[in-house]
């Protein structure tokens, strides 16, 4: 019997390609926080640059939602996004706008950072209390950091979006153009959507961080379009509005196409290997 031994299968070579995007969670947090803070303290910047700050703040928030919810929050994933923006984000933005006239240095208005800092501290303390074994005992690793980042990212996002609508972070113009007109409702709901929807929609065994974060940027594009339409009639003005709409459409198209392509490409690794079998 000419028993022909099949050649041993070649050893799998795992090539780890270090991609520059997305950076790991800590780096993404630091990069986004620095960019968003730098943009928020210069209220005179054009709206499109503020929109880039919004995108970074929301991606940071989406990443925090992802790493906090990974430990089985289930129906709590949307709630944590609402909590970040409408809960701590709104209170922080209120405090920040009240302090925005302090800390002037040329074009820099550093007073708004009081709100961001205060909400980061509040988030950290509530994270510690929620993780304490004698109190709520959530036992989620790094919940403290997650809650802190959610508070800071939510506040930054709301402040930047109010700044796009009103052209400044001062209380009076924001109240007149952003809050009393009702745009604030759209800002709050869409920003929380950009934070929780990526992980809520993509969660599962084959969830990939890069693909999840693309959804967040895509929703930020939609936010830019809506903020552009709103700035047509508010203090932002016609030119700002049209710029924002064009910017939003480009961001949305690029990241939507990129997300769908990634989803099609990565779904092959499931269907192609037959991991999920149909019942015969």
């Amino acid at each position: 019997m000419g028993h022909h031994m099949p050649p041993p299968p070649p050893e799998e070579v795992v090539v780890v390609v270090k991609k520059w995007w997305p950076p790991d969670e800590t780096r993404l947090g630091i990069i986004s926080a620095v960019i968003a803070v730098l943009i928020v303290i210069f209220p005179g910047l054009p709206a499109v640059i503020k929109a880039i700050g919004v995108i970074f703040a929301l991606v940071w928030g989406a990443d925090s939602v992802r790493k906090t919810s990974k430990y089985g929050l289930g129906t709590g994933v949307p709630s944590i996004g609402y909590f970040a923006v409408i809960g701590y984000g709104m209170v922080g933005a209120f405090t920040g706008m009240a302090f925005s006239r302090y800390g002037h240095l040329g074009p820099v208005e550093a007073g708004v950072l009081v709100g961001v800092l205060f909400m980061a501290i509040t988030g950290y303390i509530s994270g510690i209390l929620a993780n304490t074994p004698k109190l709520i005992a959530m036992k989620i690793p790094r919940l403290e950091r997650g809650m802190m980042e959610l508070g800071a990212a939510g506040t930054l996002a709301v402040l930047l979006e109010c700044s796009i609508i009103a052209g400044t972070t001062r209380w009076e113009p924001v109240l007149e153009n952003g809050i009393n007109t009702g745009v604030i409702a759209v800002i709050l709901i869409l920003s929380s959507l950009a934070m929780f929807h990526p992980y809520n929609a993509c969660l599962g065994p084959d969830e990939i961080r890069e693909r999840t974060l693309k959804v967040s940027v895509e929703i930020s594009g939609l936010i830019c379009i809506i903020l552009g339409i709103a700035s047509l009639v508010t203090l932002g003005g016609m030119a700002t509005g049209i710029q924002m709409i064009i910017f939003g459409v480009i961001v949305w198209l690029v990241f939507y196409v990129s997300f769908v392509r990634a989803a099609i490409r990565e779904s092959h690794s499931v269907t192609g290997t037959g991991l999920i079998k149909t019942i015969e």
Binding site: G74, T75, S79, I86, F94, M97, I125, L129, L135
Partner: protein, 236 residues
């Protein structure tokens, strides 16, 4: 602004936050299992349920606050609005469970309904955690809506009448404080709870303590903002 007024605002914010947290513990929350009819309660997270009902409470409270300066009246109208919303949700959930899915509303945590003394266990499908909303959950949930709506309206009233904020701003801030406290309560109940008869309800004081600290910090943030003197609205 005078220190007494700031103190009243702080107290109202803390009280409202803690009441919202207590209200969440009383609502029958079923989470994802309830969506398949295998757990008692409404098929969503605790925060969505509290958010929806307290927001309706804010609408009724805002309507009454337009022509009343009585804190009790405004807070109670908020409570009634929230109760109404919760009751409507419960009614339609029960209609769907009973006539759509064909299951009997039954509690999975107690053998006998503590209020109506009806037997529960014989009607429960094996391997499930109850279905629909039995009487005790309904009553507990309505009490929860009352407490949550009362807390939300209290914050709203303090913000427009003492802090003199604009209506829109006060509503948004009240909503935010309710949400921040509701999520801490939701962390504590871990997914599902049936109401005051649930064994998990005994852990409520722990969540109330954490909510007290969180509301205190939110309240300090609001009071700090008010001390700058920038915040003007002249609502009333």
């Amino acid at each position: 602004m005078e220190p007494t007024i700031l103190l009243i605002v702080l107290v109202c914010v803390i009280l409202g936050g803690v009441l919202a947290s207590l209200g969440v513990h009383l609502l029958p929350v079923g989470g994802a299992p309830a969506a398949m009819g295998t757990a008692t309660g409404i098929a969503t997270g605790a925060i969505m349920l509290m958010f929806g009902s307290a927001l309706t409470g804010l609408f009724t409270a805002a309507t009454v606050a337009m022509f009343s300066n009585s804190i009790v009246l405004v807070a109670l109208s908020g409570a009634v609005g929230a109760m109404l919303m919760v009751s409507i949700i419960f009614l339609f959930a029960n209609v769907t469970y009973i006539f759509g899915a064909g299951c009997v509303p039954v509690s999975g945590r107690v053998a006998v309904d503590p209020i109506t003394k009806e037997l529960q266990t014989p009607y429960k499908t094996p391997q499930t955690d109850g279905h629909g909303l039995p009487s005790v959950c309904l009553i507990s949930g309505i009490i929860g809506g009352f407490i949550g709506g009362f807390g939300g309206a209290l914050i709203y009233f303090a913000l427009i009448n003492y802090a003199k904020l604009e209506y829109a701003m006060a509503g948004v801030l009240a909503m935010g404080i309710i949400l921040a406290n509701a999520i801490i309560a939701a962390y504590n109940i871990r997914g599902t709870i049936e109401g005051f008869h649930d064994p998990k309800f005994r852990t409520t004081p722990k969540a109330l303590l954490v909510c007290f600290v969180a509301s205190l910090l939110c309240g300090i943030a609001i009071v700090l903002a008010l001390t700058t003197g920038v915040i003007t609205g002249g609502a009333v």
